[in-house]
């Protein structure tokens, strides 16, 4: 469970987050949606303690985060761009993480490790891996310690369709185990089958946080992309990002 109260963060002139309030419960898959630079990654990094908020509070599993790093034991994080020490081999990376997290061997979740066949590249140094393979390593690491909260920043970007499908299946499985999963993505069709809640951010402000059922009911649209677009049309005039996306898709299709 994550509770966010009045969270604000400013980078010099840019207001990255402005007065965010939210509650994410176990068993939910929350999609963070918004245009580039809307504060999605900043929000995620604030939860992880990598960005220090100017004001406001974040509670993870009921405990306020304030310097004690132990709450991160229950979080698996898959970054947008996984960057790892160049000289480290894949196997060493996993061994090091095991060393740090001290999770007993039988509790480890090696599902993705097997499905992505990462064992075959265990001896390769991280620097020789392609972007997609690195994403697979990031994903496998995030799920490895069987955490109660999963934070996935653009998980399917850069993955081939097969791997992307494997990852989505894995997310579905974890959802059934009553875990809290936060996902950011620009590929709304990927989120369609997974998500239970949608949080829409724009210019650091939270425009809405709704469950998918009421979103569909309110808009009468079944697809997530269209549902959000219709909310945007009915609501704020200045928020036109989603229309642009849909327009672009339409032109691509007619071509």
């Amino acid at each position: 469970m994550i509770r966010i109260e009045n969270l604000a963060k400013r980078f010099k002139k840019l207001q990255a987050l402005a007065d965010i309030n939210a509650l994410f419960n176990n068993g939910e898959v929350v999609s963070l949606i918004g245009p580039n630079g809307s504060g999605k990654t900043t929000l995620i990094k604030s939860i992880l303690g990598m960005v220090k908020a100017d004001s406001g509070f974040i509670y993870v599993n009921g405990r306020q985060i304030n310097g004690d790093p132990s709450y991160r034991n229950d979080i698996g994080y898959m970054p947008q761009i996984g960057r790892y020490p160049d000289n480290m081999k894949v196997e060493q990376l996993f061994r090091m993480m095991k060393n740090i997290r001290k999770v007993p061997e039988p509790e480890l979740d090696t599902d993705l490790l097997v499905k992505f066949n990462l064992v075959s590249i265990f001896e390769k140094p991280m620097r020789t891996l392609s972007g997609g393979t690195r994403q697979k390593v990031s994903a496998a690491l995030a799920f490895y310690f069987n955490p109660g909260i999963l934070i996935l920043d653009e998980p399917t970007a850069g993955l081939d369709p097969l791997s992307s499908e494997i990852l989505k299946e894995k997310i579905m499985q974890e959802k059934k185990k009553n875990k809290l999963i936060l996902i950011t993505s620009h590929i709304l069709s990927d989120l369609d089958e997974l998500t239970t809640h949608v949080m829409y951010l724009q210019e650091g402000k939270m425009i809405f946080l709704k469950d998918i059922g009421s979103l569909r009911k309110e808009t009468g649209e079944d697809k997530l992309g269209k549902a959000i677009a219709s909310i945007m049309r009915g609501g704020k005039k200045e928020v036109l990002w989603i229309n642009e996306v849909l327009a672009l898709k339409a032109t691509v299709k007619t071509d």
Binding site: D68, P69, R72, Y84, P85, I100
Partner: protein
């Protein structure tokens, strides 16, 4: 903490820069002892190396290492580890490798050829300077926004401590040559670890006889037990304060 330092050490050893540094120090020290008839003359030449090269290499190596391990640090930040522990592990890894390079490269030849008070003073000064400048370089790299600025700041600081500071001291001494300055110069020497190290070693040598009245005063002070304690105390302050400032600023940093 040592668990993390192990990976830092492993990464450093893989890059082989420290190995080259060790070899360089060893070859220079060894050939100096071979070339000079008089061992104390060799120590004098070695003193220049210790006072100029050791701080320079310590600073540049630390700064480059810090920026190269940015990915590692980022990865560690999303794990249940405190920021203090992450930075201290980095410091321990870098300091340990530079210190061993110095003690193997310079220590072994000194123990073989000049195992006396002067030799020990040289090793003490070199070891302290390694730790001091590693600590200062950490402060510079944490504060600087990017690699270029970080290395620039490290170089400037080195210029200041190794060259500019002496010029400033001379300027002050000339302008106030009418006044008794002995106590004041003692204070000035404490404000620069390189100067302090130089005075500490010089007074153990015969050349200190040439330094006149001030030299006599210095010899009186640094030759005594208080002098040794004073030097060690100031050096420890020079190690702890920059490192403490670096940790303080690292804790507030957005990654």
């Amino acid at each position: 903490m040592l668990k993390l330092s192990r990976y830092v050490l492993y990464d450093i050893l893989r890059s082989k820069v420290v190995l080259a540094y060790t070899l360089f120090l060893f070859v220079v020290s060894f050939s100096l002892f071979q070339l000079e008839e008089n061992d104390s003359k060799a120590i004098l030449s070695l003193l220049t190396i210790v006072l100029i090269v050791v701080p320079l290499i310590s600073m540049i190596f630390t700064t480059i290492h810090y920026y190269n391990s940015y990915e590692f640090i980022e990865l560690m930040l999303s794990q249940p580890l405190s920021r203090t522990r992450i930075l201290m592990s980095e410091y321990a890894g870098v300091a340990l490798s530079l210190l061993s390079a110095f003690f193997i490269g310079v220590g072994i030849p000194v123990l073989l050829f000049a195992f006396d008070e002067t030799g020990m003073a040289l090793l003490f000064t070199g070891g302290s300077l390694t730790l001091v400048f590693t600590s200062i370089a950490f402060l510079a790299s944490v504060k600087a926004r990017d690699k270029a600025r970080g290395i620039g700041a490290a170089l400037l600081l080195w210029f200041y401590f190794a060259l500019i500071y002496d010029g400033l001291v001379l300027l002050v001494l000339f302008s106030f040559s009418e006044y008794p300055m002995e106590k004041f110069t003692l204070l000035l020497s404490a404000l620069n670890p390189i100067d302090l190290g130089r005075i500490f070693i010089m007074l153990k040598m015969d050349v200190s006889a040439l330094m006149g009245y001030t030299g006599a005063l210095y010899k009186d002070f640094f030759g005594s037990g208080t002098g040794v304690l004073f030097t060690a105390g100031i050096m420890i302050l020079w190690i702890i304060i920059p490192l403490w400032l670096a940790i303080r600023s690292f804790k507030r940093k957005d990654m």
